[in-house]
Assembly symmetry: C2
Homo-oligomer: 213 residues x 2
């Protein structure tokens, strides 16, 4: 496997390459030069060559990159060619938004369970997915081979739910709660802290107001 | 102003300090040493001292940091002590989720308008905020002194909406659409690309499955 040689910095950029290549495919573009990709992505051509050379064999001098091949290879490296069963803990608006992203399914993420503590929500269905009570969490994870859980509930009970998820065998937590979760080795957490993102925006807007950006 | 001397790397970390300090305040903690903050945040104490020394005068040798003072100063630097009027373009689940985050209001972000193209949504209210049609966009921004717009609509029309926002005087765009927006100097874009975040999670889960993490 070539995967282990790829640096974290490159990995962080791969989903963006994947998105642009997907758009090129939709436009019917079969080949693209690093120069053209550079103009589109607003990244230097040398950065692109350096990043894509990590996988080797994608580009041919003078011919550009084969878009379909590159798209599939990057998809394979990102693991989006594999199927991952996913559940959502917290069936409020954010949970619904994530369940509705048809996109995720196309990329191998299959939401097959949603959970909540609100009796008014339990039993309802979102996109054909039934919302269940928290007492069913562990059995559902085991019986449905669930690897990934999105936490879209308030932060108060998030650490305790994360512990339950880990004990039930979840491998990856997509955490939207505004709290850092402690998980053992072998489990990964990817955070989406919306309020931190909004504060970075606020900082940059204020810097401009003060005439410093 | 001290702001201009602060590096981007520190700015990116500030919202996390702000969150931890807010939690300490809620617990009634008045002072904290860099060592204790380091244990909580899982960052080295020297990193903390180095980051917080950027603002000067926060820590006193042997006494630790004054939590309230530090919280307020970082809040001021991030601009969350100022009021920012904000609108949301796209009133689906994600738009609703953002409108419901009471948190945002506490930190100076006031959502006072929501927009959509769906006639079934227009005229509805979310948390007392009326959903309006897109034809009201420009006049609403001007009449309500709106500085920030969240784009929570599908990517297809996002660039065209971003252009309208910029022309109407928006200073910051919080972009959830899966597309990179081109904006002129003087306007900032903060992206939240959920599918890229999920792909990073996928990559890390797959790396573990392959025994490499």
């Amino acid at each position: 496997m070539e995967r282990k040689e790829i640096s974290q910095a490159v990995i962080v950029r791969l989903p963006r390459y994947y998105r642009y290549l997907g758009e090129l495919l939709e436009e019917g573009v079969e080949r693209i030069s690093s120069g053209e990709l550079s103009r589109r992505m607003k990244v230097t051509a040398s950065q692109i060559r350096q990043d894509l050379n990590n996988f080797g064999g994608f580009g041919q001098q003078g011919y550009g990159y084969n878009v379909q091949y590159l798209y599939e290879e990057i998809g394979r490296i990102l693991g989006v060619d594999r199927k991952h069963n996913m559940i959502i803990i917290g069936s409020g608006n954010l949970g619904h938004a994530i369940a509705n992203y048809a996109n995720f399914k196309r990329r191998g993420f299959i939401v097959n369970g949603m959970f909540d503590i609100d009796p008014d929500l339990i039993g309802e269905s979102v996109q054909g997915i039934r919302i269940r009570g928290m007492e069913e969490l562990e059995s559902f994870i085991r019986e449905n081979d669930v690897q990934i859980a999105a936490i879209t509930m308030p932060k108060t009970h998030a650490p305790e739910v994360a512990d339950r998820l880990v004990r039930a065998g979840i491998r990856g937590i997509w955490n939207f709660a505004h709290i850092d979760l402690a998980v053992p080795e072998g489990v990964v957490v990817e955070n989406v802290h919306l309020s931190e993102s909004l504060m970075r925006l606020s900082y940059r807007v204020c810097s401009m107001e003060d005439g410093q950006e």
